[in-house]
């Protein structure tokens, strides 16, 4: 499969990828390396992993990172309560302590968390490690180890080797600088807001019923809005929401009903300051330009 094939496959599954992204994804699949995606919120980084899972017809295992994420929540944990009950139950059976220990530290008592689960699948899953920059640096270092060897050692049990190597997709949006070591292990792509044609293609793909003229207006408006000085720029998801909202309101032309347009902007502008930054006149000007 070449990267252009991959690109058209992605498009058929509903994801319009840029050349950069399609090539990065292609290489990451070919070379078996993790793919690191950076970019603003709402440009479709997470969606890449979801689409890839759909395309490969495999499971998507997702690990959402947050501050304070530790190995117990990401890799494995012993089911302590169950172990305790098992010990209590064994007290009447008069089994030796070695037997009990063997029993309670077996697979049955292991709670698998995303990373362990991902390397034990029959078919290679897509492992999405979302917002890696939110996790602590210690976790990043641990992740490096897992991603390079694809094995996890559990002291009480054994070292678990990967049955299949998952396709790893990491996303980050710059909450913290990632280490160079992690960056160098990965194939990198920076995902930017789509340009006009790409966004139009996305809108048509996701919302096939939409009228061509309105679609053009919507995309033009959102593209113009991103150039304004906003705290949070509307992402692709917001565009799609807004398109759905407009068709729900029965609006066929942005210029036709200023009040409804202004009201529907709640789909695009998500903070108080941004709402204030785009008063009705500005919205009208943008709509006029987009038409």
């Amino acid at each position: 499969m070449t990267w252009t094939d991959l690109k058209s496959d992605l498009a058929a599954t509903g994801y319009v990828a840029s050349d950069d992204l399609a090539m990065a994804l292609h290489l990451s699949l070919e070379l078996g390396r993790p793919l690191l995606l950076e970019g603003a919120a709402g440009v479709g980084k997470t969606q890449v992993a979801k689409t890839l899972a759909e395309l490969k017809d495999t499971r998507l295992i997702r690990l959402q990172c947050y501050e304070g994420l530790d190995a117990a929540a990401a890799i494995y944990e012993w089911n302590y309560q169950r172990q305790l009950l098992s010990i209590r139950a064994a007290a009447n059976e008069d089994a030796s302590s070695e037997e009990i220990e063997e029993r309670i530290f077996s697979d049955k008592f292991l709670l698998r968390r995303p990373l362990l689960e991902a390397i034990q699948q029959e078919t290679a899953p897509v492992l999405l490690i979302d917002e890696i920059d939110r996790a602590d640096e210690e976790f990043e270092a641990y992740l490096l180890e897992v991603l390079s060897d694809f094995q996890i050692s559990i002291p009480e049990l054994r070292t678990i080797e990967a049955t299949t190597r998952p396709h790893v997709v990491l996303t980050a949006n710059g909450a913290r600088d990632l280490s160079d070591a992690l960056r160098r292990r990965c194939i990198y792509s920076f995902v930017d807001y789509p340009d006009r044609t790409a966004e139009l293609a996305i809108l048509n793909k996701r919302n096939p019923g939409i009228e061509a003229r309105l679609a053009g207006q919507i995309v033009g408006f959102v593209q113009a809005l991103r150039k304004e000085d906003l705290e949070k720029k509307p992402g692709v998801a917001e565009t799609l929401d807004w398109a759905a909202a407009l068709s729900g309101l029965g609006i066929n032309d942005l210029a036709e009903d200023p009040v409804a347009l202004q009201a529907s902007l709640v789909c695009l502008l998500k903070t108080q300051a941004d709402r204030a930054a785009i008063p009705a006149e500005v919205a009208q000007r943008l709509a006029g330009k987009a038409a």
């Binding site: 070449t2 990267w3 050349d19 950069d20 090539m23 990065a24 292609h26 290489l27 990451s28 070919e30 070379l31 390396r33 950076e38 304070g68 530790d70 302590y80 309560q81 305790l84 209590r88 710059g174 990632l178 160079d180 960056r183 160098r184 194939i187 990198y188 792509s189 920076f190 705290e231």
Partner: protein, 396 residues
């Protein structure tokens, strides 16, 4: 489309690729043999003779962050499609930037600098990088760009991106000084230790079985920063960078308090906390009326003690004073004010931009009087100095 010209000596793709990596490395991208290897492997799974494909593939492999990602196309063109030129683009841009950074000498500090040079005494004052300004590097390697900026005296840092860097250094500074753990342990949802006392208590209802494991951890006891910035005439050249520094401290911890002083003391925490940087600047300039005038450190510290210290300063505070110590009040006033401030149990850090100059002696009467009451007296005339403070702050 221009064809790639292979020099006669090139042995093949592998060697050319290694050359390309060397080219990237010379332009500041951290790539090496592993990247060469992946790139060669990648070329087997794409149509490597197509320039676009090769470009996209190499970009995905070699560009590690957004900045390099944006720059990569130029570097690619320069190497593969250049026709023999080397190191264009990035290197020249860098030169331009250095040229802009002509030192702007201010009256007060200038004198000190010159006298130091003319005296030609080569006894450095304290650290090895003290004469930072003398080495302000023009002819340095492009790859060592970060270091270069750090060595330049703060007065030359007037470019917006440098100010941003100052903010980042400050953020790190703020975090180091702030992150403190208590020695005690408190109950918590997650933690390294078991809370045996609570486990015993809750296990009573389960017939003595410790079904729920409760944890303890050492709670954070954040240090509270109070920054006092001198913006008198002798300090104006540093003022912008230090303001950026304060803004950085602010974004590291919103509870930080900041004050400006010249002949009066002005609280500026609210203005700096403003998310809208333009509005923040406007508010600041309204407040900073008197910027660049005379200094009355002693009187201002006394006022700070009387007016703000009672609410703002306690045993968990670190008071950072950014000043050169040239005071028009009698030195006894500073000493008395600092002594009184010290009684609140806080730590006092004095960052003096002059201390970084060669042969600096705290001869200014105010500074000499202040020294006995200060926990840490450190230079602050290069960003590197500020960054180097981290370990010392940790010990405070």
């Amino acid at each position: 489309m221009p064809a790639t010209r292979f020099p006669a000596r090139a042995g093949g793709t592998a060697e050319r690729m290694a050359d390309f990596m060397a080219h990237l490395r010379a332009n500041g991208l951290p790539v090496g043999p592993p990247e060469t290897e992946i790139a060669l492997k990648a070329f087997t799974s794409i149509r490597a003779w197509d320039t676009t494909e090769a470009r996209l593939a190499l970009k995905a492999i070699c560009a590690g962050d957004a900045d390099r990602f944006a720059r990569f196309d130029d570097l690619f063109d320069a190497f593969w499609l250049n026709g023999g030129r080397e190191r264009q683009g990035f290197a020249t841009r860098e030169e331009c930037r250095t040229k802009h950074r002509v030192p702007t000498f201010g009256p007060g500090v200038d004198r000190t600098a010159r006298s130091g040079e003319r005296g030609a005494l080569d006894q450095p004052d304290g650290g090895d990088d003290s004469g930072g300004a003398e080495q302000s590097g023009e002819g340095r390697l492009v790859a060592s760009r970060l270091r270069n900026i750090e060595k330049v005296d703060l007065r030359e840092l007037m470019m917006p991106e440098d100010l941003k860097r100052a903010e980042r250094v400050a953020e790190r500074f703020g975090k180091t000084i702030r992150d403190r753990r208590s020695r005690r342990r408190k109950a918590a949802r997650r933690g390294a230790q078991l809370d045996l006392r609570r486990i015993a208590r809750t296990s009573v209802s389960a017939g003595g079985e410790p079904i729920r494991l409760l944890k303890r951890r050492r709670p954070d006891r954040p240090v509270h920063l109070v920054a006092l910035l001198d913006v008198s005439g002798s300090m104006t050249v540093y003022a912008r960078v230090f303001l950026a520094f304060l803004k950085g401290l602010m974004s590291a911890d919103q509870r930080t308090d900041a004050y400006l002083f010249h002949t009066r003391l002005v609280p500026i925490s609210d203005a700096l906390r403003d998310n809208d940087s333009l509005r923040a600047v406007n508010r600041l300039s309204l407040l900073a009326d008197g910027f660049g005038g005379g200094t009355r450190i002693g009187a201002n510290l006394t006022q700070f003690n009387a007016q703000y210290a009672a609410q703002r300063v306690n045993g968990r505070s670190v008071v950072v004073i950014l000043s050169d110590g040239y005071d028009s009040d009698p030195p006894g006033v500073i000493a008395a004010a600092l002594q009184r401030l010290k009684k609140r149990g806080c730590r006092i850090v004095w960052l003096n931009p002059l201390k970084g100059w060669k042969d600096y002696e705290p001869v200014a009467a105010g500074m000499a009087a202040a020294l006995p009451h200060i926990d840490l007296f450190a230079p602050a005339n290069t960003l590197e100095d500020l960054a180097a403070l981290e370990p010392q702050l940790q010990r405070l």
